[in-house]
């Protein structure tokens, strides 16, 4: 806790915001009378894997949604690659969002269109690419997640893991520099879960994509997280690389890190 504040102060004083892919600055958020995020500040360095840990309902997803502007903070500010996304709307907001991929917990594929069209959707919306190029790129994306046979399938016909992979392909459709992932392991068996983790890891390592991953799955966190932060009751309980959290003074954090895969 103390450490976090110092880190933040140091970086703010240095004015090195360019280096931060994401920065939350004293973000507080309440839903009704429940305070979900209580004065959270954190930085995510460019090209790194950043994992937000915590038990269910500790505000991890809410923090993630702040980053893409789906939720606005009650107080505090959110920066994405130097732009204060929490203050933007309209076209400037859309411009920032185009640099972000978001893989939702339920994949959130559009039911009414095919898997391929789901992946093509951001391309059609935001690029002037001709139809043939879009098709090629969609095929490439689908291939990268192992779904090249499933272009015409409707999302309803896919299994949970396939949906997640399709969701990932759509999130990466515009090759964003920042990928936000909400509970990649939710509802998946351990093997499928590992496949997804591998895909994410590959993106980080090969394309230098910054990952912000929300999970309560410790194996995933270990694999993807260069830096981890654990939220508890709306506050940061611990922050640092895996080893730091494992050796934390806080018994809660130690217990959480020691737990095995929790699906």
């Amino acid at each position: 806790m103390t450490m976090t504040v110092e880190r933040h102060t140091a970086s703010a004083a240095g004015g090195e915001e360019r280096e931060c892919a994401v920065r939350l600055d004293h973000v507080t958020k309440s839903f009704g009378s429940r305070r979900v995020l209580d004065d959270i500040s954190l930085d995510v360095a460019e090209g790194r894997g950043f994992v937000i840990l915590g038990r269910s309902g500790t505000g991890k997803s809410v923090a993630l949604r702040h980053i893409v502007g789906l939720v606005r903070p009650d107080s505090g500010r959110v920066f994405v690659r130097g732009d204060e996304i929490s203050a933007l709307s309209g076209e400037p907001l859309a411009r920032v969002r185009r640099q972000i991929g978001f893989l939702f917990q339920s994949a959130a594929l559009f039911d009414s269109i095919s898997v391929g069209e789901n992946v093509a959707f951001p391309m059609r919306r935001h690029t002037p690419w001709p139809e043939a190029e879009i098709r090629d790129r969609v095929m490439a994306k689908l291939q990268s997640v192992g779904l090249d046979q499933d272009y015409e399938k409707m999302p309803g016909d896919l299994s949970g893991g396939m949906r997640k992979r399709a969701g990932l392909a759509r999130a990466m459709a515009l090759d964003p520099a920042l990928l936000l992932v909400d509970e990649p392991s939710a509802g998946l068996d351990p093997i499928t879960c590992e496949e997804i983790d591998e895909l994410l890891l590959g993106l980080k390592q090969q394309q230098g994509t910054t990952l912000v991953v929300v999970t309560h799955n410790i194996p995933s966190a270990r694999k993807l997280g260069d830096e981890l932060v654990m939220l508890h009751e709306g506050r940061i309980a611990a922050q640092g690389p895996v080893q730091v959290l494992e050796q934390s003074d806080d018994p809660l954090v130690r217990a959480f890190m020691a737990s095995s895969h929790s699906g």
Binding site: F102, A108, D111
Partner: protein, 261 residues
């Protein structure tokens, strides 16, 4: 107890206010570019064209029944020759628009409420937003525009199907020819009976789309919430149509005094 009632009332008033802002935005954005043309066309297909069979079949049935009723009452006065005109007048002025409005608030209202509700709870609306798409413009405005265009067209289909249904009943009863029937049917109708009554269904379309979208867009609590949104979309859009109709009819009489004759 009183406290509870007061807070409920406050909540309801707040929803009404929210809806007013929602509907206002929908109206404003449907006139200001960029237009989501492709999606609007898709909604026209889903909400409009695919409602046509329902409307046509209902119209036929309503026409047959209406004809049988007008026959029963007009026969007493020896005014059977007025049946086509009376039927067409009743259909074109009120029965067609209102029946079509209510049927569509059932079909379209439930559809929009359920679809948007499901999209909300499965994070598809968030996904749209996250993909830098204005979900309101993409999902709501397109449906509003599609409904405003489709409902008058469907009402027209209803009117003609109803008149045709009346003809079938009339044909069975008296063997009247189609030509004579149509001539009689339109003998009393003025443009002021026909055009404003049909145009007012644009308001019906707007209400169905905004009310249902509002409920679907603000769905909470999972699948159960989707069902609730869908049911409430039907109920509230039907009520709003019936209430709006009172005002619209009054307004039409005020603007076109001949229509009241």
């Amino acid at each position: 107890m009183l406290e509870l009632a007061r807070s409920r009332a406050a909540t309801h008033l707040a929803s009404v206010g929210e809806f007013a802002v929602f509907a206002g935005n929908a109206a404003r954005q449907s006139l200001v570019p960029p237009f989501e043309l492709q999606e609007t066309v898709r909604q026209l297909y889903e909400l409009g064209l695919r409602s046509a069979p329902l409307i046509a079949a209902s119209g036929l049935a309503v026409g047959v029944v209406l004809s049988m009723h007008t026959r029963a009452s007009l026969e007493r006065f020896g005014a059977e020759s007025m049946i086509p005109a009376g039927l067409a007048m009743a259909l074109v002025r009120e029965t067609g628009p209102l029946t079509a409005g209510l049927l569509l608030s059932g079909r379209i209202g439930a559809g929009i409420g359920a679809e948007l509700g499901a999209m909300r709870v499965t994070e598809q609306i968030d996904a749209l937003e996250a993909s830098a798409v204005d979900a309101f413009r993409y999902l709501v405005v397109t449906r509003v525009v599609a409904c405003v265009i489709a409902v008058p067209i469907l009402t027209t289909i209803m009117n003609f199907a109803g008149i045709l249904g009346g003809f079938i009943a009339e044909r069975a009863a008296t063997g009247m020819s189609l030509g004579l029937y149509f001539e009689r049917a339109f003998s009393l109708i003025n443009a002021t009976d026909y055009v404003p009554a049909t145009m007012k269904t644009m308001v019906f379309g707007f209400l169905i789309a905004t009310v249902s979208s509002f409920l679907g867009f603000n769905t909470t609590s999972g699948t159960e919430g989707v069902g609730r949104a869908s049911t409430r979309a039907v109920v509230l859009s039907s009520i709003s149509i019936i209430v709006a109709n009172v005002v619209l009819v009054r307004l039409i009489f005020f603007l076109f005094p001949e229509a009241a004759g």
